[in-house]
């Protein structure tokens, strides 16, 4: 049985179980502001052990993408720090591969060349022909070996995302960051890619850490070992849930479980309460502005 553990709003760093495993990723007292005043993220503390599949769940605008970009090193924190294997993160690194929601592949390169770019970086000693061989292998993992010679615009949205996953896998990053990678896909495609991702993740031998951003409760529960719920304005952690459903999981059997449905409704209500408070807050402001 999964044990819902929705933590209190005021999380302090000492409540995080102390772990200093080698592959751990830590976020300590992280703040992020943009435009000098608007607080996007406030005092985020997080510890992700090696091999964990962590989902960041939150409504749009809560800063979950910003948090992921900070972890990737694409943005710099305004306060606090991010540690990967005990070393602070400064700028992007091949150790933390990222898949975006859309447009990850370069449209002027064939699928194979897109993946080969990653191999050139992760294994610079390889010859060009070897790189193509490896690229085809990674494309095979996501079922795209046949499409290797195609350009991104000749592929469907789902195939493009699979290609983006193959390219990020080819980087060989021990940490995989995913920013709503299936958010732009239709439900059937999304389900297929979720299963594919779980397959690829469970096959990766040393245990890849995945940090997966989503606003979809079902997706978070299907994929994650743990779900962190983010609230908005400012972005902060409002809850955390350990997801103990046995693996391998698949959507059909999981969604039929009573325990899944209980957990789902619990999270949904928790998650929506914050969103409603948000909307209520906004509407008060609007009515004040518009009123009289």
């Amino acid at each position: 049985m999964p044990t819902p553990d929705i933590a209190a709003e005021n999380r302090s760093p000492d409540k995080i179980p102390p772990k200093s495993k080698l592959g751990e990723l830590r976020v300590e007292n992280l703040f992020f502001t943009y435009d000098e005043q608007k607080m996007a993220l406030e005092d985020i503390n997080l510890s992700v052990p090696e091999g964990e599949f962590l989902c960041l769940l939150g409504a749009s605008g809560c800063g979950k993408t910003t948090l992921l970009r900070l972890i990737a090193g694409l943005e710099s924190p305004s306060g606090g720090r991010i540690l990967w294997r005990g070393r602070p993160v400064h700028g992007p690194s091949l150790e933390r591969g990222i898949v975006f929601q859309e447009y990850s592949l370069f449209p002027w390169f064939r699928l194979r060349d897109n993946v080969a770019l990653a191999i050139e970086k992760s294994r610079p000693e390889t010859a060009k022909s070897e790189r193509f061989q490896y690229a085809d292998e990674y494309l095979g993992m996501v079922g795209l070996r046949e499409a290797a010679h195609k350009y991104p615009h000749e592929l469907s949205g789902g195939m493009r995302q699979r290609g983006a996953i193959a390219r990020t896998l080819a980087l060989g990053s021990p940490v995989l960051l995913m920013d709503e990678p299936f958010g732009a896909l239709d439900p059937a495609n999304r389900m297929r890619l979720q299963e594919l991702l779980l397959d690829v993740w469970s096959c990766s031998s040393p245990g890849r850490t995945v940090i997966f951003v989503t606003h979809d409760v079902d997706e978070a529960l299907l994929l994650g070992d743990r779900v962190i719920i983010l609230g908005a304005s400012p972005g902060r952690i409002i809850g955390e849930i350990k997801v103990d459903f046995p693996r391998p999981r698949n959507a059909e059997t999981l969604f039929a479980l009573d325990s899944f449905r209980e957990l789902r409704s619990e999270i949904s209500s928790y998650y929506h309460r914050d969103a409603r408070r948000q909307i209520a807050g906004e509407s008060i402001i609007t009515s004040r502005q518009e009123g009289i």
């Binding site: 694409l74 091949l94 447009y103 370069f106 002027w108 390169f109 970086k121 350009y151 991104p152 980087l171």
Partner: protein
């Protein structure tokens, strides 16, 4: 009372679109203005007294003389392209690469953009006499002038295109650990290609203008020289033929560039 509500006639009639214009009409519309201009030209030439026909020749006479002068015009074209081709190629290569470098670097932008703002708008025609005086041959000075004139549009567009590289491409390049030069070559350059081609179109127009103007000054051959030469001898039918021919060459060059652009930028942008 009947339950059926009688439907009122729609007060606003639907707009008649009538589907796409048939292909035949598209080409007819396309040539209609050419035919009209030709017709006006022919009628005016026909009305004018015969003694004016060497100042304002009929379209037929002009075409006949164009045909007669074709060998001379082809030689002139060759001569002009000996200036145009190296100058334009140089302008594109220098403009695109320098534009990429400047567009991709904050520091280089701070250095070069204020300079470009001041120097680029100077009409390059003003340099012609000095260039001819300064450089050893007419050809080298003409190449310099044409290169200078077509460099700026390519440079400015290339740097603007590099600045405008979509955020997601930049993020992907950073996540893949590209060096700055890898980023410029594999991401910024292809992403900026639509801008660069835009600059190349403007630059090609400038190149033709500068070429013909430069040839008016000191050339012994070339298209601009051809027109100037027969104007000096008041052989206006031949001059007009030269103008028509130059127009055709310009049009063909521009169309060729357009085709090249379509071939190179094959992805949706």
């Amino acid at each position: 009372m009947s339950a059926i509500i009688e439907r009122q006639a729609n007060p606003i009639p639907a707009r008649k679109t009538g589907g796409p214009v048939p292909r035949l009409f598209v080409s007819l519309y396309g040539v209609s203005l050419f035919i009209a201009v030709l017709a006006v030209w022919a009628v005016v030439a026909w009305i004018l007294p015969t003694k004016h026909q060497y100042l304002f020749p009929s379209p037929w006479l002009t075409l006949k003389i164009l045909w007669e002068s074709l060998p001379e015009l082809l030689v002139s074209t060759g001569s002009s392209f000996l200036i145009l081709a190296p100058a334009y190629a140089g302008a594109v290569i220098l403009g695109a690469s320098w534009g990429l470098l400047v567009g991709g670097s904050e520091r280089l932008r701070l250095i070069f953009i204020p300079f470009a703002r001041v120097v680029a708008p100077v009409p390059p025609t003003v340099y012609i006499p000095y260039a001819i005086a300064l450089l050893p041959t007419f050809r080298s000075s003409a190449i310099f002038i044409v290169l200078l004139a077509s460099f700026w549009p390519v440079f400015i567009n290339a740097s603007a295109g590099t600045l405008a590289v979509p955020e997601q491409h930049r993020d992907n390049a950073r996540a893949l650990g590209f060096t700055h030069f890898q980023y410029l070559r594999r991401v910024a350059f292809p992403a900026a290609l639509p801008f660069i081609f835009n600059g190349m179109h403007v630059g090609m127009g400038m190149a033709f203008i500068m070429l013909t103007v430069a040839e008016l000054f000191g050339s012994t051959s070339g298209l601009g020289r051809f027109v100037q030469y027969y104007a000096d001898y008041a052989d206006f039918p031949r001059m007009l033929a030269g103008i028509l021919y130059t127009g055709l060459i310009t049009f063909l060059s521009m169309s060729g560039l357009g085709l090249l652009e379509k071939k190179i930028i094959f992805w949706p942008h």
